[in-house]
Assembly symmetry: C2
Homo-oligomer: 192 residues x 2
Amino acid sequence: MARTGRRPGATRTREEILRAARLDFAEKGYDGASVRGIARRAGVDPALVHHYFGTKDQVFVAAMEIPYDPGELLERIMLDPEHDPAEAVVRTFLRVWDDEHGRAPFVALLRSAMTSERAADVLRGFMTDVLARQIAPKIGVEPLRAGLIASQLFGMVLVRSVIRAEPLASADPEQVVAHYAPAVRLVMGERR
Amino acid sequence: MARTGRRPGATRTREEILRAARLDFAEKGYDGASVRGIARRAGVDPALVHHYFGTKDQVFVAAMEIPYDPGELLERIMLDPEHDPAEAVVRTFLRVWDDEHGRAPFVALLRSAMTSERAADVLRGFMTDVLARQIAPKIGVEPLRAGLIASQLFGMVLVRSVIRAEPLASADPEQVVAHYAPAVRLVMGERR
C-alpha cells in the first residue's frame, strides 16, 4: 500500500520540524532563528531539516503556511448572519492568540517582520493585497477601515500576548470582547 | 567658563552617537544592533561609544531615554480642555510616528521588545506600571481601557509605519484621525 517513497514517520517528523520552526521563529525572529536551533528543538539532526526543507528561508516559508486560510476564516466570520461580526472577530483573535501553539506562526511572522525585510514583505503583502484588495470588498468594508480594524486586532494581541502588559495580559477574554468589540464595530462603519 | 572636563564638541558627539543608536536599534532590534554598527553610523571609533556609554546594554538604555516624558505628554493631551482627547492622542501619535527621527526610539523599543526579553521588560514595565497604574487613574480612565487604547495606538503605528501596509501607510493623517478617534473615544468610556 506504500504509495510514496517516504519512510514511515516521515510526515510526523516534518510536522515536528515545522512546529519547532514556528516556535523558534516566534521566539527569536527571522534573524535570530537557525536551522541548528530548530533541529535541536525538534530533536533531529540539522541535516534532516535541510533534507526536508532546504535553507532557513525555505523553512520559514513552510512554517508560515498556517494550517488554514486566515482570509477565508475572516470572510466566514464576517458574513455569518448568526453572530455580530465585530464580537466574533475579536473573540476569534483572542482564542487563537491565547493558545501558545495557535499564536506561534503569527508571533513568528510579526516578530520576524519587525527585524527582517523578507518577513515584513510577507506580512505587508498579506495586508495590502489580500486583506485590503480582496477581502475588504467581499465583506463590504472600505479598505482603509479594514486596515484600521487590523490595527486594532494586531495591537490587542501585541500588548496582551507579546509584550504581556497588565492588566490586558490577564484580563478575561469576554471582558476584552465587551470593551473592544464596539470600537471594532465603529471602525467597520456602514457595511455595503 | 569651562565648568566640566568635557572636550568642546563632546556633547554633540554624544548626541550623534545616541541618534545613530536609535536608528540602529530601530532597524535591527536589540539583538541585531552592535556598538560597532552604531559607531560606524555615527562616524566615530567604537572605543568612543564605549568611552561615553559603556556596553551595548548601556547604550540601549541611554538611547531609549526619549527627550521628553511620554507619560507627561499623554497626561497633558488628555487633560487639555481645548481639544477632544481621543482626536488629540491619535493625531499626536501619528505626528510622532510619521517622522523618521520622531519614531526611531519607539520603533527601536518595539522592535527590540519583539526579540529581546530585556527590551520587552522595559516596554512591559512602562505599560503596566506607568500607563495602567499611574497615568490611567490621573486621566480618569480604567486601567484595562487604557491598555486597550494603547493597543489601538500601537496597532495603528505598527501597521502604518513599521509593516507599512496599504492603504493605511499612505493615508492622510486627518482621514485616519476621522476614522479612528471615535473608536478610541469609545474605548475610553465614561471618564471619572
